[in-house]
Subunit: 203 residues, 2 copies
Protein backbone atom coordinates (compact mmCIF):
# COMPACT_ATOMS: atom_id res chain seq x y z
CA UNK A 1 0.00 0.00 0.00
CA UNK A 2 1.05 3.54 -0.70
CA UNK A 3 1.88 5.37 2.46
CA UNK A 4 0.01 8.64 2.89
CA UNK A 5 2.84 10.95 3.80
CA UNK A 6 0.52 13.92 3.89
CA UNK A 7 -0.47 13.08 7.45
CA UNK A 8 2.62 15.13 8.38
CA UNK A 9 1.35 18.38 6.95
CA UNK A 10 0.40 21.46 8.86
CA UNK A 11 -3.35 21.89 8.76
CA UNK A 12 -5.31 25.10 9.16
CA UNK A 13 -8.67 25.76 7.62
CA UNK A 14 -9.93 28.81 5.81
CA UNK A 15 -9.11 31.09 2.97
CA UNK A 16 -5.59 32.32 2.33
CA UNK A 17 -5.50 36.10 2.56
CA UNK A 18 -3.36 38.55 0.66
CA UNK A 19 -1.44 39.16 3.88
CA UNK A 20 -0.72 35.43 4.22
CA UNK A 21 0.70 35.40 0.71
CA UNK A 22 2.82 38.51 1.24
CA UNK A 23 4.32 37.06 4.40
CA UNK A 24 5.07 33.68 2.81
CA UNK A 25 6.48 35.08 -0.41
CA UNK A 26 8.29 38.11 1.00
CA UNK A 27 7.01 40.37 -1.74
CA UNK A 28 3.92 42.33 -2.72
CA UNK A 29 1.91 41.38 -5.80
CA UNK A 30 1.91 44.04 -8.48
CA UNK A 31 1.32 44.45 -12.19
CA UNK A 32 4.16 46.17 -14.02
CA UNK A 33 2.39 47.38 -17.14
CA UNK A 34 4.92 48.07 -19.89
CA UNK A 35 3.50 50.18 -22.71
CA UNK A 36 5.21 51.55 -25.78
CA UNK A 37 5.67 51.25 -29.51
CA UNK A 38 6.58 48.07 -31.33
CA UNK A 39 10.37 47.84 -31.14
CA UNK A 40 10.65 50.07 -28.08
CA UNK A 41 12.07 47.19 -26.04
CA UNK A 42 9.10 46.07 -23.90
CA UNK A 43 9.58 42.33 -24.31
CA UNK A 44 13.35 42.47 -23.95
CA UNK A 45 13.05 44.48 -20.75
CA UNK A 46 10.27 42.17 -19.48
CA UNK A 47 12.54 39.14 -19.93
CA UNK A 48 15.46 40.82 -18.14
CA UNK A 49 13.22 42.04 -15.33
CA UNK A 50 11.65 38.63 -14.77
CA UNK A 51 15.06 36.98 -14.84
CA UNK A 52 16.57 39.38 -12.32
CA UNK A 53 13.61 39.00 -9.96
CA UNK A 54 13.54 35.21 -10.08
CA UNK A 55 17.31 34.88 -9.74
CA UNK A 56 16.93 36.92 -6.59
CA UNK A 57 14.28 34.64 -5.14
CA UNK A 58 11.21 36.59 -6.11
CA UNK A 59 8.22 35.31 -8.03
CA UNK A 60 7.43 36.89 -11.35
CA UNK A 61 5.67 36.09 -14.60
CA UNK A 62 5.42 37.74 -18.00
CA UNK A 63 2.21 38.12 -19.95
CA UNK A 64 3.00 38.99 -23.55
CA UNK A 65 1.92 38.38 -27.10
CA UNK A 66 3.59 34.98 -27.17
CA UNK A 67 1.57 33.44 -24.37
CA UNK A 68 -1.65 35.47 -24.61
CA UNK A 69 -2.35 36.26 -28.26
CA UNK A 70 -2.02 32.61 -29.31
CA UNK A 71 -3.94 31.29 -26.32
CA UNK A 72 -6.54 33.15 -24.30
CA UNK A 73 -7.00 35.85 -26.95
CA UNK A 74 -6.65 33.80 -30.09
CA UNK A 75 -10.31 34.48 -30.94
CA UNK A 76 -9.66 38.23 -31.15
CA UNK A 77 -8.53 40.28 -34.14
CA UNK A 78 -7.29 43.84 -34.48
CA UNK A 79 -10.51 45.85 -34.82
CA UNK A 80 -10.90 48.62 -32.23
CA UNK A 81 -13.43 46.48 -30.28
CA UNK A 82 -11.17 43.45 -30.35
CA UNK A 83 -8.16 45.52 -29.27
CA UNK A 84 -10.15 46.81 -26.32
CA UNK A 85 -11.33 43.28 -25.38
CA UNK A 86 -7.72 42.09 -25.79
CA UNK A 87 -6.48 44.61 -23.23
CA UNK A 88 -9.49 44.01 -20.97
CA UNK A 89 -8.73 40.29 -20.74
CA UNK A 90 -5.03 40.95 -20.16
CA UNK A 91 -5.97 43.34 -17.36
CA UNK A 92 -8.20 40.70 -15.78
CA UNK A 93 -5.52 38.02 -16.02
CA UNK A 94 -2.92 40.40 -14.61
CA UNK A 95 -5.33 41.01 -11.74
CA UNK A 96 -5.50 37.27 -11.02
CA UNK A 97 -1.70 36.95 -11.08
CA UNK A 98 -1.36 40.00 -8.84
CA UNK A 99 -3.94 38.51 -6.48
CA UNK A 100 -1.76 35.38 -6.42
CA UNK A 101 0.92 37.82 -5.20
CA UNK A 102 3.18 37.53 -8.21
CA UNK A 103 5.09 40.37 -9.81
CA UNK A 104 3.30 40.35 -13.10
CA UNK A 105 4.98 41.98 -16.08
CA UNK A 106 2.79 42.74 -19.06
CA UNK A 107 4.40 43.62 -22.37
CA UNK A 108 1.83 44.90 -24.86
CA UNK A 109 1.77 48.03 -27.00
CA UNK A 110 -1.59 48.94 -25.39
CA UNK A 111 -1.84 52.16 -27.41
CA UNK A 112 -5.03 53.59 -25.94
CA UNK A 113 -4.95 55.56 -22.72
CA UNK A 114 -8.54 54.57 -21.90
CA UNK A 115 -7.73 50.86 -22.15
CA UNK A 116 -4.70 51.20 -19.89
CA UNK A 117 -6.76 53.18 -17.40
CA UNK A 118 -9.37 50.40 -17.40
CA UNK A 119 -6.64 47.93 -16.50
CA UNK A 120 -5.41 50.27 -13.76
CA UNK A 121 -8.94 50.54 -12.39
CA UNK A 122 -9.20 46.74 -12.09
CA UNK A 123 -6.20 46.58 -9.79
CA UNK A 124 -6.03 47.89 -6.24
CA UNK A 125 -4.11 50.87 -4.92
CA UNK A 126 -0.41 50.38 -5.50
CA UNK A 127 -1.00 47.25 -7.53
CA UNK A 128 -0.56 48.86 -10.95
CA UNK A 129 2.70 50.38 -12.06
CA UNK A 130 2.56 51.85 -15.54
CA UNK A 131 5.96 52.00 -17.18
CA UNK A 132 6.24 53.92 -20.41
CA UNK A 133 8.94 52.34 -22.53
CA UNK A 134 9.66 55.48 -24.48
CA UNK A 135 11.46 55.49 -27.79
CA UNK A 136 11.02 57.75 -30.83
CA UNK A 137 9.20 55.99 -33.64
CA UNK A 138 12.16 56.75 -35.95
CA UNK A 139 14.47 54.77 -33.68
CA UNK A 140 11.97 51.88 -33.39
CA UNK A 141 11.61 51.86 -37.15
CA UNK A 142 15.37 51.84 -37.61
CA UNK A 143 15.70 48.87 -35.24
CA UNK A 144 12.74 47.06 -36.87
CA UNK A 145 13.69 43.80 -35.17
CA UNK A 146 10.66 41.92 -36.51
CA UNK A 147 10.53 43.66 -39.89
CA UNK A 148 7.05 44.96 -39.06
CA UNK A 149 7.71 48.64 -39.80
CA UNK A 150 8.85 47.73 -43.30
CA UNK A 151 5.62 45.80 -43.86
CA UNK A 152 3.58 48.65 -42.40
CA UNK A 153 5.25 51.18 -44.72
CA UNK A 154 4.56 48.85 -47.65
CA UNK A 155 0.90 48.73 -46.60
CA UNK A 156 1.06 45.00 -45.87
CA UNK A 157 0.03 45.63 -42.27
CA UNK A 158 -2.93 47.95 -41.77
CA UNK A 159 -3.43 50.06 -38.67
CA UNK A 160 0.11 49.73 -37.41
CA UNK A 161 0.71 51.68 -34.20
CA UNK A 162 2.98 54.69 -34.75
CA UNK A 163 2.62 54.55 -38.55
CA UNK A 164 -1.05 54.24 -39.45
CA UNK A 165 -2.66 53.95 -36.02
CA UNK A 166 -2.30 56.19 -32.97
CA UNK A 167 -0.20 55.67 -29.86
CA UNK A 168 -1.43 57.71 -26.93
CA UNK A 169 1.54 58.48 -24.66
CA UNK A 170 0.97 57.94 -20.92
CA UNK A 171 0.41 61.18 -19.03
CA UNK A 172 0.84 59.87 -15.50
CA UNK A 173 3.00 56.78 -15.79
CA UNK A 174 4.73 55.79 -12.57
CA UNK A 175 7.94 55.48 -14.56
CA UNK A 176 9.29 56.56 -17.92
CA UNK A 177 12.16 54.55 -19.33
CA UNK A 178 13.75 55.98 -22.45
CA UNK A 179 15.36 53.16 -24.40
CA UNK A 180 16.93 55.51 -26.93
CA UNK A 181 19.12 56.68 -24.03
CA UNK A 182 19.34 53.68 -21.66
CA UNK A 183 20.71 50.21 -22.31
CA UNK A 184 18.39 47.25 -21.67
CA UNK A 185 20.22 46.52 -18.42
CA UNK A 186 20.01 50.13 -17.21
CA UNK A 187 16.34 50.35 -18.19
CA UNK A 188 15.66 47.17 -16.21
CA UNK A 189 17.67 48.37 -13.22
CA UNK A 190 15.61 51.56 -13.20
CA UNK A 191 12.41 49.52 -12.85
CA UNK A 192 13.92 47.32 -10.15
CA UNK A 193 15.11 50.39 -8.24
CA UNK A 194 11.53 51.66 -8.29
CA UNK A 195 10.19 48.31 -7.00
CA UNK A 196 12.70 48.41 -4.15
CA UNK A 197 12.06 52.03 -3.33
CA UNK A 198 8.31 51.42 -3.15
CA UNK A 199 8.74 48.27 -1.06
CA UNK A 200 7.47 45.67 -3.52
CA UNK A 201 10.65 43.65 -3.25
CA UNK A 202 13.90 43.60 -1.33
CA UNK A 203 16.89 42.55 -3.36
CA UNK B 1 19.52 61.24 -4.00
CA UNK B 2 17.94 57.83 -3.78
CA UNK B 3 20.58 55.15 -3.70
CA UNK B 4 20.10 52.45 -6.31
CA UNK B 5 20.40 49.35 -4.18
CA UNK B 6 19.72 47.16 -7.17
CA UNK B 7 23.38 47.32 -8.11
CA UNK B 8 23.73 44.38 -5.67
CA UNK B 9 21.52 42.03 -7.59
CA UNK B 10 22.61 38.92 -9.41
CA UNK B 11 22.40 39.49 -13.12
CA UNK B 12 22.00 36.89 -15.84
CA UNK B 13 20.37 37.50 -19.17
CA UNK B 14 17.88 35.39 -21.01
CA UNK B 15 14.55 33.72 -20.62
CA UNK B 16 13.58 31.87 -17.47
CA UNK B 17 12.87 28.23 -18.34
CA UNK B 18 10.41 25.86 -16.75
CA UNK B 19 13.36 24.04 -15.23
CA UNK B 20 14.61 27.26 -13.63
CA UNK B 21 11.21 27.79 -12.05
CA UNK B 22 10.93 24.22 -10.78
CA UNK B 23 14.34 24.43 -9.16
CA UNK B 24 13.64 27.81 -7.53
CA UNK B 25 10.16 26.91 -6.31
CA UNK B 26 10.76 23.26 -5.39
CA UNK B 27 7.55 22.15 -7.02
CA UNK B 28 6.13 21.33 -10.44
CA UNK B 29 3.40 23.46 -11.98
CA UNK B 30 0.14 21.63 -12.48
CA UNK B 31 -3.55 22.29 -12.93
CA UNK B 32 -5.77 20.43 -10.50
CA UNK B 33 -9.08 20.50 -12.32
CA UNK B 34 -11.93 19.87 -9.88
CA UNK B 35 -15.18 18.94 -11.61
CA UNK B 36 -18.51 17.98 -10.12
CA UNK B 37 -22.06 19.06 -9.39
CA UNK B 38 -23.02 22.24 -7.62
CA UNK B 39 -22.78 21.48 -3.90
CA UNK B 40 -20.39 18.56 -4.34
CA UNK B 41 -17.70 20.42 -2.40
CA UNK B 42 -15.34 21.68 -5.12
CA UNK B 43 -14.81 25.18 -3.71
CA UNK B 44 -14.50 24.01 -0.12
CA UNK B 45 -11.91 21.44 -1.08
CA UNK B 46 -10.09 23.98 -3.29
CA UNK B 47 -9.79 26.35 -0.32
CA UNK B 48 -8.49 23.61 1.99
CA UNK B 49 -6.07 22.35 -0.62
CA UNK B 50 -4.66 25.80 -1.35
CA UNK B 51 -4.32 26.52 2.36
CA UNK B 52 -2.50 23.26 3.09
CA UNK B 53 -0.12 23.77 0.17
CA UNK B 54 0.73 27.38 1.03
CA UNK B 55 1.11 26.66 4.76
CA UNK B 56 3.66 24.07 3.71
CA UNK B 57 5.65 26.53 1.60
CA UNK B 58 4.24 25.70 -1.78
CA UNK B 59 2.72 28.11 -4.26
CA UNK B 60 -0.88 27.63 -5.21
CA UNK B 61 -3.81 29.63 -6.52
CA UNK B 62 -7.52 28.97 -6.98
CA UNK B 63 -9.49 29.89 -10.06
CA UNK B 64 -13.20 29.75 -9.31
CA UNK B 65 -16.47 31.48 -10.00
CA UNK B 66 -15.70 34.26 -7.55
CA UNK B 67 -12.60 35.53 -9.29
CA UNK B 68 -13.32 34.49 -12.88
CA UNK B 69 -17.05 34.81 -13.54
CA UNK B 70 -17.16 38.41 -12.28
CA UNK B 71 -13.93 39.39 -13.97
CA UNK B 72 -12.41 37.80 -17.06
CA UNK B 73 -15.64 36.05 -18.02
CA UNK B 74 -18.18 38.64 -17.02
CA UNK B 75 -19.14 39.14 -20.66
CA UNK B 76 -20.28 35.50 -20.94
CA UNK B 77 -23.68 34.01 -20.16
CA UNK B 78 -24.91 30.44 -19.83
CA UNK B 79 -25.73 29.47 -23.40
CA UNK B 80 -23.91 26.34 -24.61
CA UNK B 81 -21.49 28.52 -26.66
CA UNK B 82 -20.80 30.79 -23.71
CA UNK B 83 -20.30 27.83 -21.38
CA UNK B 84 -17.75 26.42 -23.79
CA UNK B 85 -15.97 29.79 -24.11
CA UNK B 86 -16.07 30.08 -20.30
CA UNK B 87 -14.22 26.80 -19.87
CA UNK B 88 -11.87 27.56 -22.79
CA UNK B 89 -10.73 30.79 -21.14
CA UNK B 90 -10.36 29.11 -17.76
CA UNK B 91 -8.24 26.42 -19.40
CA UNK B 92 -6.04 29.08 -21.02
CA UNK B 93 -5.60 30.97 -17.75
CA UNK B 94 -4.85 27.73 -15.90
CA UNK B 95 -2.21 27.07 -18.54
CA UNK B 96 -0.58 30.45 -17.83
CA UNK B 97 -0.58 29.80 -14.07
CA UNK B 98 0.82 26.32 -14.62
CA UNK B 99 3.49 27.78 -16.89
CA UNK B 100 4.31 30.15 -14.02
CA UNK B 101 4.87 26.89 -12.09
CA UNK B 102 2.01 27.33 -9.66
CA UNK B 103 -0.24 24.59 -8.40
CA UNK B 104 -3.42 25.87 -9.95
CA UNK B 105 -6.71 24.64 -8.54
CA UNK B 106 -9.79 25.20 -10.69
CA UNK B 107 -13.23 24.78 -9.15
CA UNK B 108 -15.93 24.82 -11.81
CA UNK B 109 -18.80 22.44 -12.51
CA UNK B 110 -17.44 22.04 -16.08
CA UNK B 111 -20.21 19.57 -16.98
CA UNK B 112 -19.12 18.69 -20.52
CA UNK B 113 -16.49 16.04 -21.10
CA UNK B 114 -15.43 17.66 -24.38
CA UNK B 115 -14.75 21.00 -22.68
CA UNK B 116 -12.67 19.35 -19.95
CA UNK B 117 -10.74 17.41 -22.58
CA UNK B 118 -10.03 20.68 -24.42
CA UNK B 119 -8.55 22.09 -21.23
CA UNK B 120 -6.49 18.92 -20.77
CA UNK B 121 -5.21 19.21 -24.33
CA UNK B 122 -3.97 22.75 -23.66
CA UNK B 123 -1.72 21.60 -20.84
CA UNK B 124 1.38 19.47 -21.23
CA UNK B 125 1.91 15.86 -20.15
CA UNK B 126 1.45 15.54 -16.41
CA UNK B 127 0.26 19.12 -16.11
CA UNK B 128 -3.46 18.34 -15.90
CA UNK B 129 -4.93 16.36 -13.04
CA UNK B 130 -8.67 15.86 -13.35
CA UNK B 131 -10.30 15.27 -9.99
CA UNK B 132 -13.91 14.18 -10.00
CA UNK B 133 -15.58 15.51 -6.88
CA UNK B 134 -18.25 12.86 -6.83
CA UNK B 135 -21.46 13.20 -4.90
CA UNK B 136 -24.98 11.93 -5.71
CA UNK B 137 -27.25 14.72 -6.88
CA UNK B 138 -29.68 13.83 -4.08
CA UNK B 139 -27.01 14.58 -1.50
CA UNK B 140 -26.00 17.83 -3.22
CA UNK B 141 -29.65 18.84 -3.35
CA UNK B 142 -30.09 18.04 0.32
CA UNK B 143 -27.05 20.17 1.23
CA UNK B 144 -28.16 22.99 -1.10
CA UNK B 145 -25.70 25.41 0.52
CA UNK B 146 -26.49 28.24 -1.87
CA UNK B 147 -30.22 27.49 -2.25
CA UNK B 148 -29.71 26.92 -5.96
CA UNK B 149 -31.36 23.50 -6.19
CA UNK B 150 -34.53 24.92 -4.66
CA UNK B 151 -34.54 27.67 -7.28
CA UNK B 152 -33.85 25.16 -10.04
CA UNK B 153 -36.75 22.93 -8.90
CA UNK B 154 -38.98 25.99 -8.82
CA UNK B 155 -37.93 26.77 -12.39
CA UNK B 156 -36.28 30.03 -11.35
CA UNK B 157 -32.95 28.82 -12.73
CA UNK B 158 -33.04 27.28 -16.19
CA UNK B 159 -30.57 24.68 -17.38
CA UNK B 160 -29.28 23.80 -13.93
CA UNK B 161 -26.67 21.05 -14.03
CA UNK B 162 -27.96 17.79 -12.53
CA UNK B 163 -31.60 18.94 -12.63
CA UNK B 164 -32.37 20.36 -16.05
CA UNK B 165 -28.96 20.21 -17.73
CA UNK B 166 -26.59 17.28 -18.10
CA UNK B 167 -23.46 16.47 -16.12
CA UNK B 168 -21.12 14.16 -17.97
CA UNK B 169 -19.13 12.15 -15.44
CA UNK B 170 -15.39 11.87 -16.07
CA UNK B 171 -14.37 8.52 -17.50
CA UNK B 172 -10.63 8.79 -16.97
CA UNK B 173 -10.14 11.20 -14.10
CA UNK B 174 -6.77 10.90 -12.37
CA UNK B 175 -8.64 10.88 -9.07
CA UNK B 176 -12.18 10.34 -7.82
CA UNK B 177 -13.04 11.85 -4.47
CA UNK B 178 -16.43 10.87 -3.09
CA UNK B 179 -17.63 13.59 -0.75
CA UNK B 180 -20.68 11.61 0.34
CA UNK B 181 -18.16 9.27 2.01
CA UNK B 182 -15.13 11.44 2.83
CA UNK B 183 -14.89 14.51 5.03
CA UNK B 184 -13.53 17.70 3.47
CA UNK B 185 -10.23 17.13 5.24
CA UNK B 186 -9.94 13.53 4.08
CA UNK B 187 -10.92 14.48 0.54
CA UNK B 188 -8.22 17.15 0.54
CA UNK B 189 -5.64 14.78 2.01
CA UNK B 190 -6.39 12.31 -0.76
CA UNK B 191 -5.53 14.94 -3.38
CA UNK B 192 -2.37 15.97 -1.54
CA UNK B 193 -1.31 12.33 -1.24
CA UNK B 194 -1.66 12.04 -5.01
CA UNK B 195 0.43 15.19 -5.57
CA UNK B 196 3.16 13.80 -3.32
CA UNK B 197 3.06 10.36 -4.87
CA UNK B 198 3.41 11.81 -8.35
CA UNK B 199 6.21 14.13 -7.29
CA UNK B 200 4.49 17.50 -7.76
CA UNK B 201 5.23 18.54 -4.21
CA UNK B 202 7.11 17.33 -1.17
CA UNK B 203 5.39 18.04 2.09
Amino acid sequence: MTQTKSTNITWHSGKISKEDRKAKMEQRGVTIWLTGLSGSGKSTIAVELEHALIENNHHAYILDGDNVRHGLNKNLGFSPEDRTENIRRIGEVAKLFTDANLITVTAFISPYRADRDEARALLGDGEFVEVYIKCPVEVCEQRDVKGLYKKARAGEIKEFTGISAPYEEPENAELVVDTSELSVEDATRKIIAYLEQEGYVEL
